[in-house]
Symmetry: D2
Subunit: 146 residues, 4 copies
């Protein structure tokens, strides 16, 4: 099967004080939210897909997620997490994001999420919406950030 | 205007480790969530209103909220917050909850939220749904927990 | 008693998808987090107080909070909440923030939080730390944003 | 290397309305919090380890997490998530939890988290605290839930 290239994207996400826990560090579940913000910024970015992030007809639900935590993050007001995202469509049906996160120039986390499209009743779609797929092929052909 | 009595309700809500922040205590925004859980348990309780908590046709959005924080809560696994709720309909249109919260027998917080009914387009309803109002009058007439 | 003037501050806070709830809008508890982010940005801003936001010796815990919700916020990737903050020290002992929040040029929320200083054991301090108080007097004398 | 057996544990965790998102389902990051609550209940349970969940001298930070999402969860007031936890110490140094989650008798999620012990300065400990290790060996010898 043809293995497509990935599209890279960078996004800055600001931790909040509420993201910390009584260990004094950002709670481990919050990295999924930082990754999500980066993904939504990417998907809605007009230079890429420019889609509505909340589209009733086609939602991309998370099927799998994995995270490796490398370094704890201590909250400092207004220091961003630098999220580096790599988007790919696999097997015509799965949307895959890999990511690394940096905080004050140190790698703090890496991970991967896999998404499947569902319709408004929550039923799995058998393929990625065609418009999205074509746009993707078009983008990687142009070598946009690949 | 006739001033109706309130209906009292008690609910136990379990703080989560994620509810804490880097100050080592439960984050002040979380008490609104504990109050909400108590409110939803009350509204869906068959002994009282028995309504669906997520009803597209009639949602009770928060209009006002106020909280007084009396004592910080340090997380201990499986120690509940004891929420004491007082429900009332005011002026035929506003749903009002007052509450006190206790943790390990100490009062930690008091507060009040006021709710208005909106329809599925988010438009304000001019009155509380009649079924709810009648049930309320019926409950306070019976002296249920009043 | 002398009534001091307030210092104004503006801060942009980005809602996250996770801040929404099944009503399709930003959860009402999250506005306390947006206000907190604005407060922490203000307190740590070198043009104002430039203090560490997590200082074990002196934490400003929330004593009271009140919020009025004016309009629901529907999440759109990368649309910020514009927080307008008004800081004041009252009665030499209470730190008070008032705020209004705007989203896509519409006022969505107003509120007020009151804070007291506690030491590292959580004991109430009888007065605002002197350094902070002097800096405040200095700032309002200069008419900084007053 | 000797491969130890796992200890099984069950815990009920109640989703909150705030855990939902604008897709109408429990947000995917929240399953890490449900797993955490189950882990903390287990570790603090006197029938097992009975340790303080927030111990400055020895914190178990998450090193790796992976999740498979099987079915979306729609919030219903007071319906619990049934978390089935499997605890194991691997290679004398890593604490590993595997889990399955059920909601209204349907499997909704499976996952695994791996933890390492750090001291109060956040430095990695080279081994599991001896008391914990001995207790573990004692428990699996007795066949407690193995």
């Amino acid at each position: 099967m043809k293995q497509y290239k990935s599209i890279d994207y960078r996004y800055k996400c600001y931790p909040r004080f509420q993201d910390t826990d009584a260990y004094g560090i950002v709670h481990h579940s919050k990295y999924l939210c930082y990754a999500e913000e980066a993904k939504m910024a990417f998907m809605s970015d007009d230079r890429y897909f420019g889609v509505q992030v909340i589209d009733e007809e086609c939602k991309f639900v998370v099927r799998d997620a994995s995270l490796r935590y490398i370094k704890s993050v201590r909250y400092k007001s207004k220091e961003p997490i630098d999220v580096r995202l790599h988007f790919r469509i696999e097997d015509e049906i799965r949307v895959v994001f890999k990511f690394e996160m940096f905080y004050m120039d140190q790698k703090v986390c890496t991970g991967r999420t896999e998404h499947l499209a569902v319709d408004k009743d929550g039923k799995l779609k058998l393929s990625i919406p065609e418009g999205l797929r074509n746009k993707y092929l078009c983008l990687i052909e142009k070598g946009e950030n690949v």
